[in-house]
């Protein structure tokens, strides 16, 4: 498998998946899931205290997955670090052989399991992208010269179903200007809406991977609609999951995810897909197989 950057630059349909480090030091299951994905995906995101819940740091896990043979994508949020810590982590990522970084502002601590924490947000996603660009150019954010630059492939996120969409597109444009090479989108389900988004995104010289989130059952779909801004699961898909019954729901969800990946690939809608299975990473190879991706 080509690495993320090579695959995207070669114009191949690129697949990424996700690894969520656990809370606690028992990483056997996490490594097992990651092993399942070896050779099946181009790169693997490692989340950074996702949903503001404390877990093992993204960076050490990136290194472990890199040793395993993966091309990790270091997710980096601005919630837990100021600009000093961010820059030292970015240089640290470089010397550990990490090639990709996904720049995010990060979920607010109010969403997580340490609600009394002080959120940092010294920088935010656009400024974080500029920071990576500066370090790649051999200077830190204060303009000081570095002894050896970083060489990180910069990614960012975008929410195609955000409402309102216009301010989101303006921010997308800023992220491109700030140095983003690739985007991974929030989960998309409405293909027509996604095509409209891509028509606009295509005007910029960046690669876009469509976010595909595995629906485990109708309850999860309803939860997403109700509580997760920027995700809309159409009623038609919810009905399909319901009809599949308790036993068949997951299979049905995998079919839906596979169909989405297949459509995006066959119709050339985006440059790849980012498949999120949240704890069911072992199902990703099967989804890819059903999508017609070996």
């Amino acid at each position: 498998m080509k690495r993320l950057k090579e695959a995207l630059e070669a114009g191949e349909f690129t697949i990424t998946a996700e690894c969520g480090p656990p809370k606690g030091t028992d990483i056997a299951e996490m490594l097992e899931h990651a092993r399942h994905l070896l050779g099946k995906i181009n790169a693997i995101n490692v989340t950074d205290n996702q949903s503001a819940v404390v877990r093992i740091g993204s960076l050490p896990v990136c290194r472990l997955l890199s040793e395993m043979g993966h091309d990790p994508i270091f997710q980096l949020t601005c919630r837990d670090r100021n600009r000093l810590a961010i820059q030292s982590d970015l240089m640290g990522a470089h010397i550990l052989g990490i090639k990709n970084v996904l720049c995010m502002t990060g979920d607010h601590v109010a969403a997580g399991d340490h609600k009394t924490a002080k959120p940092v947000y010294d920088l935010e996603s656009v400024q974080l992208l500029q920071t990576v660009a500066a370090l790649n150019g051999g200077h830190d954010l204060a303009g000081n010269e570095m002894k050896g630059a970083t060489n990180l492939y910069q990614g960012a996120v975008v929410t195609p179903e955000a409402n309102p969409i216009e301010p989101q597109m303006l921010k997308f444009e800023k992220k491109v200007k700030a140095g983003a090479n690739f985007f991974q989108t929030q989960a998309i389900y409405d293909m027509d809406n996604f095509k409209r988004f891509m028509d606009r995104a295509r005007k910029y010289n960046v690669k876009v991977l469509a976010g595909i989130l595995l629906l485990k059952n109708a309850g999860m779909a309803n939860f997403l609609n109700k509580f997760v801004p920027g995700i809309t699961v159409p009623q038609e898909l919810i009905d399909r999951l319901k009809a599949a019954g308790k036993e068949g729901a997951l299979e049905c969800g995998m079919d839906i995810a596979a169909e989405q990946v297949r459509i995006i690939k066959e119709q050339g809608i985006a440059d790849g897909a980012h498949v999120m299975a949240i704890g069911l990473e072992n199902k990703v190879p099967e989804i890819l197989k059903r999508a017609g991706i070996a």
């Binding site: 996603s125 303006l170 200007k177 920027g230």
Partner: protein
Amino acid sequence: MIVSKAKERQDVINMLEGVKSVFLLGCSECATLCGTGSPEALAEMKESLESIGKKVTGTFVAKTGCQVLGTKVELKANKEEVDAADAILVMSCGAGTQSMVEVFKDKKVYPANDTAFLGNMTRFQHFDERCSMCGECIIDKTGGICPVTTCPKGILNGPCGGTNNGFCEVSPDIECAWAKIYARMERTGELEKMRQIIPPKDYSKKLSPKVFVIEKKKEEK
């Protein structure tokens, strides 16, 4: 104005453990508007403390409690009452409380209120935080709406993915600052400006403690 909230009464009582007599000081500015340092608030506090056996030696509402010298002069008339008290309980913001600390070097001074934020009174006794005094105002670039303060993440360059039909992912009670900024800049014809990337903030401007001296204008020759 400076928004202050009265502490739980029990917390005030705990604070005054061992204190037999107190002098109560309010403030006629913000704390009066917030109802935490008004003549009525002082009268209520006096009654409440007396009911548990404390002696209230006197009460006074300062004109502007954060004005150290002015308050010192005003309080001269109450000298005996203050002298007779074991402690001064200040019913204003934290600045007013510390004016008293400065004026009465050897007297115990305690805060009756929690000082919350710089607020706009948008309805009667309803306060909204619009400015967090960052030291370098940037709202010329954001349609006059402050994202430093009104976006919980202080994002300077546009909405996060959690923007939700005009509301914020952090709480359904908060409007998304960036949805508002976009809508306003669209109305004022400033969207082009919104395309510019705003650089990281200079937090050295916000380092505490700060001092500011207004320089006297030089006399013209």
